[in-house]
Symmetry: C2
Subunit: 583 residues, 2 copies
């Protein structure tokens, strides 16, 4: 397997397509410039394509192991994690107050892409920890922040998010884990959690579990859920590790993929927990962080797409089979590289056109995440917040769907060699397969988009947002993007008409709408990319213009049929009763 | 995992939708009637959902094992194979002359669906054998047929197809395996073959390899390839097994799925081989059988879709999570079964609508395969041959793509529980993944369709075929199917204009065209199904009408965007040069 971090394209997006001015103008970002970002991206790319990619296949073969009550990570993970910590990657976007580097999100999403591409199992140990860090940094008391966060930034302690229980995943309101107040202001947490990523492992000295539970007497449903910090080892007043807390690892899951990642079933038995934020407000705090985490998961999908594309291209350039259509590259040969087969070229271009467009959308969204967090301009920060809220489910779902279609397509280009394990293509498919499922399934993302993001203030923002990009596409005479945006606006109107009156219709067309949304807005990202290239000539720009054209002519037409299925078909769905399934 | 063979739907197609008259009128089919077919389908369904399904998961876990030069099948496979033989399943469509039952193909494709659904790894041991049997029955001399075939029908000997070599899969013209004439009229075969399904195993006493090789001095390319029978054990004149032939198992592949199936690398070292058919005509003989095998692979994809659908439906009826849109099934509950979520219902209906429509197409095509083989009416037999030739690549590619989309969708409905191994959903995805790859990748099918089946006599037949189904859709006032057929005819015209002038454009739009073809013709199968129900009332018919409507309104609109990408975009593909990939 090869991986070359797509730094050229990343820098094009940062410097030329969107520009760094807005991000640099934010407080704390004074030192952020092209040179700094380029250096960091190159270092990250090097780390990923050497340290992480090389242990990825063995990680899959050995898997994480649960024995004698402890979890061991696969060979090489400990050494790689030590270097990861040493190089400062655990604190890159953390608060300088806790020893972090406070670098912008727009940089971090690109690093997320690289980590996701080269070793998702490894990445997850750090990723969930980072999510837990930000959640604590936003929500916990000063005392807890001071006591726990520096060690998280330093990478010596890590964190988890404990949400799912055997009977509830999507619907966390059903959870039964209990919290009983103890004398000293802490709580006793009891219950069973499943699917806890990095729930136990041997990479850090302590693990800080962020657990949602119901305090005795709290209301049912999501409004009775509180958030607790439950360390694996209790922490003494001097910061040293104390006794083992009442949390044990019951088992780890045997999974289709990301087998190097320990997915744990954890039992909490009167474990000591500390309330984080307000009572019964745990879901709100958790969701705030889950939203950022959802973009991160989207970047995993993009990373899988990129590494799948790179390897499929390399294979297609190397594998000779059958003759190309005339004019052949070399008439004297018995066969040509399969990349000359138009169908193989199509598959590669379909990946590339979506990958580059999606990356532009990621950079655009992450820049707004930075504005949302740091801008002193209230209006700008608020608009950015709406933009991020609107695009988060689109990025999570579309990018991970793209991860699946790209890894499957790359595997297909390898033919039978893609089905055997040695080339690693089948591992990409298996590892990527979790991304459309976790952090809220892609169907849940679509429901979030149509039910929450098209309504209220984000809904008002959406209208402005669509109108602006439609105008931009028109101004740049991009007929395909213009049509796609018109389809999006028309589909949005269909939902608006039904929000109050027909919940089932709204929910039933959600995934189609999310896909239409993503295709159309990525169409505009291509308009923007092409406009940003101005009259620049040369290989990179010339190729990118051709990819843009391919996207417009070969990918975007799907919005037409999506619109037709959305606006034409709710009756066919509604008409079919659940009892009809048994006939 | 559950599996209930969809016999009700199968019988509807056989008895009501298409009727058995034509098949019964064929010589040798005098005893074929509804009762007989129903009895056999029920027996097959019982065998599959008990004997085969129960050993499928262990087959995946243990896999086939290669040690000390021999291959061992997973636990339970030997016992199941003994029952399979005992019940006569190895000879169901074989020639009565060799002890077979000579039952029609239309029955066998439905059994193929069941076998594919419940245990593809097991099925492959018998399936390749059956392919080899038919190839020998069509092509070999009377002497060879008499000597080898009765044991194949009895299931005590099995067969393989040895085509692929390390450097050639799709392009077999590049093969290097050599055949040197020996004194006694036999040949000495030497070379390395890979990806040989059931290349070695412990289920039968002998294995008959059908090997393609080049006789010393034969032309390069596919016109210099001959076909040989190379038994694992030579057969004495009295029919007893003689010495071991010069074929050894170098290794078996470690694969993403169908791990219970032994995929072998075989070395032939001066092995004794017998020429089958004429010198240098091996590919033609092989392809004749591969076409039937391609329909069989399509049925595997359909089987995967069906079992994925059944289990996802059962899970969705059982798993309570979140509230359904009003009116809820039970307002007193905290949550409802997820099948009430419109998006889950949509995914299930999307599977079902395609599965039932595809099954209709399979029955329709298989009936024509019977006519092609047995009809004494030359014109009817010839038309049937064209019909089967035209639809074979469509069935192979679309059905296996459907297998992937259905297994992935079913896994998605299970959420995180679909990603862990215990529920078996992830195994379905892994096992199904080979079907779009082997027996000619789906891209090769699409090329076959546009390059060979839209031209010449099959091309002329295609025009009549499209016109007839368009007229049928119109007559039945099926607007959606009418539009889809018009799209298909328009797209076909686009190819016709370019067949001579623009090979690259033809090849580059082939997969889109195959998908459009499949969607449109399955639309007509739904027209036919609905028409066949006449005024029949009751659950089965009422549900089927609703599924038909869902297909028309929610699945068929895709033909519009497919037509747009076909007719609108060859320049975007052509414009991108191979060298642009490196920019």
């Amino acid at each position: 397997m090869i991986y070359n971090a797509p730094i050229k394209d990343m820098l094009f997006l940062l410097n030329e397509c969107f520009g760094l001015d807005t991000v640099r103008a934010l407080p704390g970002n004074e030192e952020v410039d092209t040179d700094l970002l380029e250096t960091i991206l190159e270092e990250a790319g090097k780390f990923c394509s050497t340290e992480l990619l090389t242990i990825n296949q063995a990680g899959d073969e050995h898997g994480a192991v649960h024995a004698d009550g402890a979890v061991t990570t696969p060979p090489g993970f400990k050494e790689a994690y030590a270097k990861f910590v040493e190089n400062g990657w655990t604190g890159i976007d953390s608060n300088p107050e806790h020893g972090g580097q406070g670098l912008p999100k727009v940089l971090h999403v690109l690093i997320d892409e690289m980590l996701g591409a080269t070793n998702l199992s490894f990445k997850l140990y750090a990723e969930l920890s980072r999510g837990a860090y930000h959640l604590l940094d936003h929500t916990a008391s000063d005392e807890i922040r001071a006591r726990y966060l520096p060690n998280m930034v330093a990478g010596t302690w890590s964190g988890t998010m404990c949400l799912t229980e055997p009977h509830c995943g999507t619907d966390l309101g059903l959870l039964t884990t209990k919290a009983v107040p103890a004398d000293n202001g802490s709580y006793r947490i009891s219950g069973a959690k499943i699917f806890i990523t990095s729930g136990d492992h041997d990479l850090t000295e302590n693990i800080l579990h962020l657990v949602i539970a119901r305090i005795a007497g709290a209301p049912l449903g999501t409004h009775g859920i509180s958030l607790f910090l439950v360390p694996k080892f209790l922490v003494n007043d001097d910061g040293s590790l104390g006794e083992r807390n009442g949390v044990t690892t019951a088992s780890i899951e045997h999974k289709m993929g990301i087998r190097g990642s320990a997915t744990c079933a954890l039992n909490f038995e009167e474990a000591t927990g500390y309330l984080i934020g307000e009572k019964n407000r745990g879901m709100a705090a958790m969701f705030k962080m889950m939203n950022i985490e959802r973009i991160t998961v989207g970047m995993q999908g993009l990373g899988f797409s990129e590494i799948a594309y790179q390897n499929a291209l390399a294979y297609a350039l190397d594998r000779h089979q059958s003759k190309a259509p005339a004019p052949r590259p070399d008439d004297s040969k018995a066969s040509d590289p399969i990349v000359y087969q138009p169908e193989v070229k199509r598959q590669l271009l379909t990946m590339r056109a979506q990958i580059e467009g999606a990356r532009a959308l990621a950079v655009y969204t992450a820049m707004h995440a930075d504005i949302m967090e740091k801008s002193s301009d209230k209006k700008a920060a608020n608009d950015a917040k709406d933009l991020v809220a609107l695009l988060t489910p689109v990025i999570k779902a579309f990018f991970t769907d793209l991860g699946m279609s790209s890894t499957l397509s790359a595997q297909q280009i390898y033919g039978g060699h893609g089905f055997v394990r040695e080339h690693g293509m089948e591992q990409l498919v298996r590892d990527c397969r979790i991304t459309p499922i976790y952090e809220g399934t892609n169907e849940v993302q679509a429901l979030d988009l149509v039910a929450r993001k098209l309504t209220g203030s984000t809904g008002e923002f959406a209208d402005r947002f669509f109108a602006e990009w439609l105008a931009f596409a028109k101004k740049n005479k991009d007929a395909a993007a213009t049509t796609a945006m018109q389809h999006l606006i028309e589909a949005t109107a269909w939902f608006r008409e039904r929000h109050e009156s027909d919940d089932a219709a709204v929910r039933g067309a959600a995934t189609q709408y999310l896909r239409l949304f993503a295709l159309a807005i990525i169409g505009c990202m291509w308009t923007k990319s092409v406009a940003a290239m101005k009259n620049q000539e040369g290989g990179f720009y010339a190729a990118k213009r051709k990819v843009a054209r391919f996207y417009a002519e070969q990918v975007l037409p799907e919005t037409g049929s999506l619109l037709a299925t959305i606006t034409g078909g709710d009756a066919a769905l509604a008409d079919f009763e659940i009892t009809d399934f048994s006939d």
